[in-house]
C-alpha cells in the first residue's frame, strides 16, 4: 500500500484541559481499508485524540485533513456528515426497541401518508446487517434480547447506515465481549476493511492488536511515541513504547532505593494468601514487608486495581485470606483497614478520591476523622494543624486550607488524597496510580516521598502503568497479567524482564 490513499491526516494536534496537556503535537493518519490500532495507557490521550477527530472536543492546535481537504470538525453530527462514525465502548442504543428500529432510528423509510413503512424498514435493516456485516438475525426482536456482541453489531450497522461511513472508530469495542464474540466482531471488521472502510481500533488488549491491526499508533502522556507497521513491531517493543523507558536521571533514585533497602525487615506486615475474587482476580499470594516498596506492574485490566481494592477492603474477596501482622483479617471495609493501619490512595481520583466541594482541610482530615468516629471530633485547631502540616510536607499549592479542593490542579488534588491517607498514620500504604495525569515535577516528588515513607518503616505498594516509575521506586515487583499474578521479580533485575513478563513472552 502506498501513502497516497490517506483518508485522514491529523497534524500537530494539541489539546489542553485545565491543568493537563492532554495532547501535544500529535500526528496521526489513516489509510483506506486499514485497521489502525491506537494504544496507550490511561491518560495517554487516546480518547482525546478521537474526541478531537469526531468533533466532541475542539482542538487547540494542529489541523485535520479529510481526503485531501482541510476541515474543521464542528460537532459529532458534523463528523457523521463527513463520513466519520463512532461506536463507543458501552452500547448506547435502546434495548427496548427492535433491532431494525435501532439501526434505522431517525431515518425510517416512510410510507404513504407519512407513517413509518415497517415492512421495508425491517427489510432494509435485515439487508444491511446481512450484506455489510454478514449476520442474519430476526430484526423485529428487541435489541435487548440479543447478546452484547449482537448489540455491538447493531451499533456498527447503525454507524455505517448513518453516514455510509468511510471511517469507523471503535472505542474499546471488545471490552465486554468474550472470545467467541470477539472473533465474530473481527470477522465483521475484516469484511468492512475489504470494502475499503478505514477503521480506528482502540483497545488495551495487546493480543487483539496483533490479531487484527495493520498499523499501530502508540501514545504516551499525550504525546506521540510513533506509528508502526504491526508486523514489524515485536511485542516487547510495543510494551516498551507504551509504558516508557528513558535512561533519565535514575542515579539519585537508585542510591536512595539501595539505602532504604537496608531498612527492610523480614517479617511480613501484610500478607495475602490465595486472595481473589470471581471475575476480577485469580488467587494471588503476596507479602508486604515493613520498610519496603512493593511495585505492582501490569497493564490496564490486568487486575492491579482489583488487587488494591481487595487488600484495602473496598471489595470483599470470595477466596483466600489476608493477614495483618500475622493475624487473619475478618472485617473487610475501608474503615476497618484504616483503623488497622492500612490506607489506600485510589486510582479513580475524581470518582473515589477527592470530595470536590469540601475544602482542602476537610479533605485531608476526612479519613483520620472517620477512624476516630463521630464524636471524637477534631477541634478546629487540630484540623488546621494537620492540614498545614501536610500542605507543607507534600508541598501542596493552595492559597489556603479553606480552599475548595476542586480549585486545585490535578497534581495537587492527588497530593491532597495522599495527605488524607498519610494523616491516618498507616503502616501499610497502597498507592494506586498516584502519579497519573500529573506533571513530571510532582511525579518525582511523589516517588521520592514513597521511598522516604518506606525508610520510616512503612510498607508501600506502588501501582503504576508507567513501568519506569515502578522500577525506579520498588524493591520488589509483582507482575500481573490477565487478572493473574504471573511472576515476582526483585528490583535488581532488568526492566526488560518485567516487560517480558507483562507482555507474556515465554
Amino acid at each position: 500500500m502506498s501513502g497516497n490513499d490517506r483518508i485522514v491526516e491529523m497534524k500537530g494536534i494539541g489539546k489542553a484541559f485545565p491543568g493537563v496537556q492532554a495532547l501535544l503535537d500529535v500526528d496521526f493518519d489513516l489509510r483506506e481499508g486499514e485497521i489502525h490500532a491506537i494504544v496507550g495507557e490511561n491518560g495517554a490521550g487516546k480518547s482525546t485524540l478521537i474526541k478531537v477527530l469526531t468533533g466532541v472536543e475542539r482542538l487547540d492546535a494542529g489541523s485535520i485533513t479529510l481526503a485531501g481537504q482541510q476541515v474543521t470538525v464542528k460537532s459529532p453530527l458534523h463528523a457523521q456528515e463527513l463520513g466519520i462514525s463512532t461506536v463507543y465502548q458501552e452500547v448506547n442504543l435502546c434495548p427496548n426497541l427492535t433491532v431494525a428500529e435501532n439501526v434505522l432510528i431517525g431515518r425510517e423509510p416512510r410510507g404513504k401518508g407519512g407513517g413509518i413503512d415497517w415492512k421495508s424498514m425491517n427489510q432494509q435493516a435485515k439487508e444491511l446487517l446481512r450484506q455489510r456485516l454478514g449476520i442474519d438475525i430476526d430484526v423485529t426482536r428487541t435489541l435487548g434480547s440479543y447478546p452484547v456482541a449482537v448489540q455491538q453489531m447493531a451499533a456498527f450497522a447503525r454507524a455505517l447506515e448513518i453516514s455510509s461511513a468511510r471511517i469507523l472508530i471503535l472505542d474499546e469495542p471488545t471490552s465486554s465481549l468474550d472470545a467467541r464474540e470477539t472473533a465474530r466482531l473481527f470477522e465483521v471488521m475484516r469484511r468492512m476493511k475489504s470494502d475499503g472502510v478505514a477503521i480506528v481500533f482502540i483497545t488495551h488488549f495487546i493480543d487483539q492488536v496483533y490479531e487484527i491491526s495493520d498499523r499501530i499508533t502508540v501514545l504516551r502522556n499525550g504525546e506521540l511515541v510513533g506509528t508502526f507497521e504491526t508486523a514489524a513491531l515485536p511485542r516487547v517493543q510495543l510494551i516498551q513504547h507504551m509504558i516508557g523507558r528513558t535512561m533519565s536521571d535514575l542515579d539519585e533514585m537508585a542510591s536512595m532505593k539501595r539505602e532504604s533497602a537496608k531498612h527492610i525487615r523480614g517479617e511480613a506486615l501484610l500478607e495475602a494468601e490465595g486472595l481473589g475474587r470471581e471475575g476480577e482476580l485469580h488467587p494471588v499470594d503476596l507479602e508486604m514487608h515493613a520498610g519496603e516498596v512493593l511495585g505492582i506492574a501490569g497493564l490496564l485490566g490486568s487486575g492491579r486495581t482489583e488487587l488494591a481494592h481487595l487488600l484495602y477492603g473496598t471489595d470483599k474477596p470470595d477466596r483466600g485470606v489476608i493477614r495483618f501482622q500475622g493475624r487473619e483479617v475478618r472485617k473487610y471495609s475501608p474503615l476497618a483497614s484504616i483503623r488497622r493501619g492500612v490506607a489506600l490512595c485510589p486510582e479513580d481520583r475524581k470518582g473515589a478520591g477527592i470530595l470536590d466541594d469540601l475544602t482542602v482541610r476537610e479533605n485531608i482530615i476526612l479519613a483520620l476523622q472517620a477512624s476516630r468516629g463521630w464524636f471524637k471530633y477534631l477541634s478546629a485547631q487540630q484540623q488546621q494543624a494537620t492540614a498545614d502540616r501536610y500542605i507543607e510536607l507534600l508541598n501542596i499549592a493552595t492559597p489556603s486550607a479553606d480552599q475548595p479542593v476542586k480549585n486545585l490542579s490535578g497534581g495537587n488534588q492527588q497530593k491532597v488524597i495522599l495527605a488524607r491517607s498519610l494523616a491516618t498514620n498507616p503502616q501499610v500504604l497502597i498507592l494506586d496510580e498516584p502519579t497519573r495525569g500529573i506533571d513530571v515535577g510532582a511525579k518525582a516528588e511523589i516517588q521520592r516521598l514513597v521511598l522516604e515513607l518506606a525508610e520510616e518503616g512503612k510498607s508501600c505498594a506502588f501501582i503504576s502503568s508507567e513501568l519506569d516509575e515502578v522500577f525506579r521506586t520498588s524493591h520488589r515487583i509483582v507482575v500481573l497479567r490477565d487478572q493473574e499474578k504471573v511472576t515476582e521479580l526483585t528490583g535488581e533485575e532488568d526492566v526488560y524482564a518485567v516487560m517480558e513478563a507483562i507482555a507474556g513472552v515465554e
Binding site: T314, S333, P334, L335, S337, I338, R339, L344, P346, G351, A352, G353, I354, L355, D356, D357, L358, E362, L366, A367, Q369, A370, S371, R372, G373, W374, F375, K376, Y377, L378, R420, T424
Partner: protein
C-alpha cells in the same frame, strides 16, 4: 510572622456567605410589605404577649422550620423525605390517644370517665405523651432510614411508602376518629405564649440540638461528605449507611416535634389534614436555604430563613387580600424567582458587581 495589612470591607465576603441569598429573598418580601401593607411592621404588647404580623410569621412558620431542620440533613446526604407530613399525622394521633384512649375502646374506671372532657384531665402524664409521640415519630424516621440506607431503595420511593401509608396508620391508631384534645397544658405547646409564641422556643431548642449534633461532632462533615460523593466517602472510611440512617431518623424526630406543635395548636388529631403538603414546604425551605438537592454543603440557619421566606410570602399575600387558593400559585411564581436568583448567571453577576476593584486575589 508578618503583620496582616488592614483589609477594606469586601462585599464579596458577604455575598459568598451561604446566608446571603436567603436573606436577600426575605428582605425583598419584607420590602414589598413595607411598601404595600400598612402597619405590617407594627408590634404591640399586651397581656404578656407580643403580637403583630412579624410575630405571626414566626409563629406560623415554626412547624415548617422544624421539618426543614430534619429535611436539611436528609437532603444534604443526597436524599429526600416525602413522609414528614404523614409522620406529623401519626405523631398527632399517638399524642391524642395517649391523652384520651377511650375512643379506641379502653375502659376507664367510672370515676375517671366523668373527667374525660375536663381541660385538666389526661390519661398519661404530659411528659409520657411527649416521649411516646417522639419515639413513635423517630421509629418512623428509622424505618425510612433502614429502607434507604440498608434496603438501597431510592429515597423518593422509600419515603413515598410512608407518605401514603402514614395517614392510614394515623387513622388506624385513632380508630378513624378525629379526637378532640381538651387537655390545656398540651395546648400550650403550640398555642401558648411566653412573651413570644412558645413554639418558637421549641424551634430554638431543636435548632440548637441539630446544630450541636452536626457541628460539634463530625456528623455534619460526614453528611456533607456523603452528599458530595458517596463513593469517595466510602473509600475514606466513612460509614455512609449509618450516616444516612441517622439523617432520616433525625428527620422523623423533627416531624414528631412538628406534629406535637401542630396538633396542640388546633387541639385535635386530624389525620387527614395535619401536616398535609408540609413536606413540600419543608423541601422548599431547604432549597431556598441554598442546600443542593444533589446533596453536599448545608446550613441549618439558612434553611430556617428559607422557612421564614415561605411563611412571609403566605402572610404577605393574605395581608394584601389574595384568596387562600391563589396563594399557592403565587408561591409557585416565587419559587421560580428564587431559582433564578440562585442561578449561576445571577451569582456571576453579583460577583462581577461586588468584586473588589483593583485588588488582585
Amino acid at each position: 510572622m508578618m503583620k496582616k495589612p488592614k483589609r477594606p470591607f469586601q462585599w464579596s465576603k458577604l455575598t459568598e456567605s451561604r446566608l446571603f441569598l436567603p436573606l436577600v429573598a426575605l428582605a425583598l418580601i419584607l420590602l414589598f410589605d413595607l411598601l404595600f401593607v400598612d402597619g405590617f411592621f407594627d408590634i404591640s404588647y399586651s397581656g404578656g404577649r407580643l403580637s403583630g404580623s412579624l410575630i405571626n410569621i414566626l409563629r406560623n412558620s415554626s412547624t415548617v422550620i422544624l421539618l426543614a431542620l430534619g429535611m436539611t440533613l436528609v437532603i444534604a446526604t443526597g436524599g429526600i423525605d416525602l413522609s414528614v407530613g404523614a409522620i406529623m399525622a401519626i405523631a398527632a394521633s399517638v399524642a391524642a390517644i395517649m391523652m384520651n384512649p377511650v375512643i379506641i375502646g379502653v375502659e376507664l374506671p367510672p370515676h375517671l370517665m366523668e373527667f374525660i372532657n375536663d381541660p385538666n384531665f389526661t390519661f398519661a402524664p404530659l411528659w409520657q405523651v411527649i416521649m411516646g409521640t417522639l419515639i413513635a415519630a423517630t421509629i418512623c424516621g428509622l424505618w425510612n432510614g433502614v429502607l434507604v440506607a440498608y434496603g438501597n431503595i431510592q429515597p423518593m420511593v422509600a419515603t413515598l411508602i410512608l407518605m401514603y401509608a402514614g395517614r392510614g396508620i394515623a387513622q388506624l391508631i385513632t380508630n378513624g376518629v378525629r379526637i378532640q384534645i381538651f387537655y390545656e397544658p398540651y395546648a400550650f405547646i403550640g398555642g401558648g405564649w411566653l412573651i413570644l409564641p412558645f413554639s418558637l422556643y421549641i424551634v430554638a431548642i431543636v435548632f440548637v440540638l441539630a446544630w450541636l449534633l452536626t457541628r460539634k461532632t463530625a456528623i455534619g462533615l460526614f453528611v456533607e461528605s456523603v452528599g458530595v460523593n458517596a463513593r469517595s466517602s466510602f473509600f475514606s472510611g466513612i460509614e455512609e449507611r449509618k450516616i444516612k440512617l441517622l439523617a432520616y431518623t433525625f428527620c422523623g424526630f423533627c416531624a414528631g416535634v412538628a406534629g406535637l406543635v401542630a396538633s396542640s395548636n388546633i387541639k385535635t388529631s386530624d389525620s387527614n389534614n395535619i401536616g398535609l403538603d408540609y413536606e413540600l414546604d419543608a423541601i422548599l425551605a431547604v432549597v431556598i436555604g441554598g442546600t443542593l438537592m444533589t446533596g453536599g454543603r448545608f446550613s441549618l440557619l439558612a434553611s430556617i430563613i428559607g422557612g421564614l421566606v415561605i411563611q412571609a410570602i403566605t402572610t404577605s399575600m393574605y395581608a394584601i387580600g389574595v384568596a387562600a387558593n391563589a396563594v399557592l400559585a403565587i408561591k409557585g411564581v416565587v419559587v421560580i424567582l428564587v431559582i433564578l436568583l440562585y442561578s449561576e448567571q445571577v451569582r456571576a453577576l453579583v460577583r462581577r458587581v461586588t468584586a473588589p476593584k483593583g485588588v488582585s486575589r
